[in-house]
Symmetry: C2
Subunit: 332 residues, 2 copies
């Protein structure tokens, strides 16, 4: 079939069948799935979570991951953020004519491995091919189904004044890894993307009986955007202690060099969680094992409205000003 | 927010919030859904069908539909082909910087209308923006969940020699509509895409007690590709009476003019169904109401292997040779 994607690979004919059977079969836990337009699922009884995300990251491969692992893990993480155990995933591929098949094979293998890492199965998919210059290598859209295991609502509107805020690990590595890959920066030591499944940490909190009011993964826009959205949805003020934000030294150094703030950098394996005051210490103990930390608390909104305040190392407070876009486009 | 999509509309910041709240809210049956990364679903007990499809059609708007109606209806139809009633849909948008907001609004309205027409609700979504020249206006990926109502397996491997084959309506209109739109052909009368929900016809067959062995929608590659795939999966020979294929006169005329065969043209609202011999007349009566017709039958495979034979108007048989790609790229 040559060594590059051709337009006819998307055409529904014999070349497309070859592509699916030879190259994409590896995605599926059950190879028979490759034959079906729709997967038949027998799910456990109970509420389900359903999520979708598109992935357009550049470069397609970067330190610590690639668009394939990102697309599988990212959507699994959106389910985890709804308190749901990820079960099944669909993968829609939009390929640009001329894409090297070798690269596609690496991405397929990466997706299959990420699926195993997330404990989910890829059960259905679709492939389209567009002309050279009409896409950018590969775009992926994954959709996931999970079963909700959280006992109560996990939602920004469940956040209450007094709630405690924690992050699940160190911040900003995905953003720095993409930046370095895109601009050829040779960071020493190299900074790897934090791309990782979030369900294990959420599950540990749930199993320990920690009452979770809200979960939000930190992706585009980083911690800053996540906090801003939560403050607005819950109509509260969030007080964050800047000195508590866990940032690894190479990331902090890159930020100082480039003039970025770590809390604006993208992550792909981190979340912020709001828990009631009495659950703080237990949540902190569970998350600290993987680099997480307590970062602040929730206050009632004042006349100034919903906002995020950062307490600096000097003890002064400054307002977090939300970005209109993001530091780097196409981070995921 | 200006009148065109900017890169920052995909960035996770305030501009993205504006885009979602002002422009995409109309997608959702429940506007609160726009706030959540994952939808929480309470589904009826029983097996579910799960499907996904990407849409890259050009032009984005064409006679009888647009990429939005296609993306909603197409994935709903994949569920119907698994014998499932479509219930819920996710929509992933990949937008090219510079896309006119007015066009996006028309597509959003079209998706919302198509969702109502399919009897499903859009419950979750995602939006990415890529730089000008890195996509082609809009790519959509929809994923759907349905509840299986068919009592038995609907699968190519359930096809048996003796089964009867029917199509659900006239063939080739979507292909001709796209071709005309792309090349500025002013057909008189204009040929409109056949884009339409398939569940109503499938449901009518099921409710009448027709035992369905297999369903396959005719999309890329048309009836020809669908028949070829079924013959190979079931390891049988399909004998099709060419004179029985329902083709409207303007489509037949366009085909004669352009040298195409109607059974290679794409459809977006048609299926082929295999039923046991005793169900033929009932199925034919039900499908005839919407332009469907009996087209042939299933024979055991001979030494020549799985194949599709066309009986011509002269009574001779010729082999259907599958295309390697399709007549027109980016038909859906």
């Amino acid at each position: 079939m040559g060594d590059r994607i051709q337009l006819a690979h998307g055409g529904g004919g014999t070349l497309m069948q070859q592509l699916i059977h030879q190259e994409l079969r590896a995605l599926y836990a059950d190879p028979a799935q490759v034959l079906h337009d729709a997967a038949r699922l027998e799910l456990p009884h109970g509420p389900l979570a359903f999520s979708t995300d598109g992935y357009v990251v550049q470069p397609l491969e970067f330190p610590g991951g690639d668009i394939g692992s990102l697309a599988v893990t990212g959507t699994a993480n959106d389910l985890a953020m709804a308190g749901a155990r990820p079960l099944h995933l669909s993968v829609g591929l939009i390929l640009e004519e001329g894409l090297p098949l070798e690269l596609l094979r690496r991405l397929v293998a990466s997706m299959a491995m990420a699926a195993r890492g997330c404990g989910l199965t890829i059960v259905t998919g679709d492939t389209k091919v567009v002309e050279r210059g009409k896409a950018d290598g590969v775009f992926l859209t994954t959709s996931g189904i999970g079963v909700v295991e959280a006992p109560g609502p996990i939602d920004p509107t469940a956040i209450r004044p007094g709630d405690q805020l924690l992050v699940s690990g160190d911040l900003g590595r995905h953003g720095v890894a993409i930046l370095a890959a895109r601009h050829g920066l040779a960071l020493q030591p190299p900074v790897l993307s934090d791309c990782a499944p979030l369900w294990p940490q959420v599950s540990a909190l749930l199993e320990a009986g920690v009452r979770i009011h809200c979960l939000r993964d930190l992706t585009r826009g980083g911690l800053a955007s996540a906090l801003q959205e939560l403050a607005e949805a819950a109509e509260v003020e969030l007080a964050i202690e800047e000195g508590r934000l866990p940032v690894l030294e190479p990331v902090a150094r890159s930020c100082a060099l480039l003039g970025f703030e770590p809390l604006h950098l993208a992550n792909e394996g981190r979340f912020v969680v709001a828990v009631p005051p009495q659950a703080r210490d237990q949540a902190q103990a569970l998350l600290a094992a993987s680099g997480g930390a307590w970062i602040g608390s929730v206050r009632p909104a004042t006349g100034a409205g919903a906002r995020v305040l950062l307490t600096t190392a000097l003890g002064t407070e400054r307002l977090l000003v939300p970005l209109s876009g993001e530091l780097l486009p196409r981070i995921c």
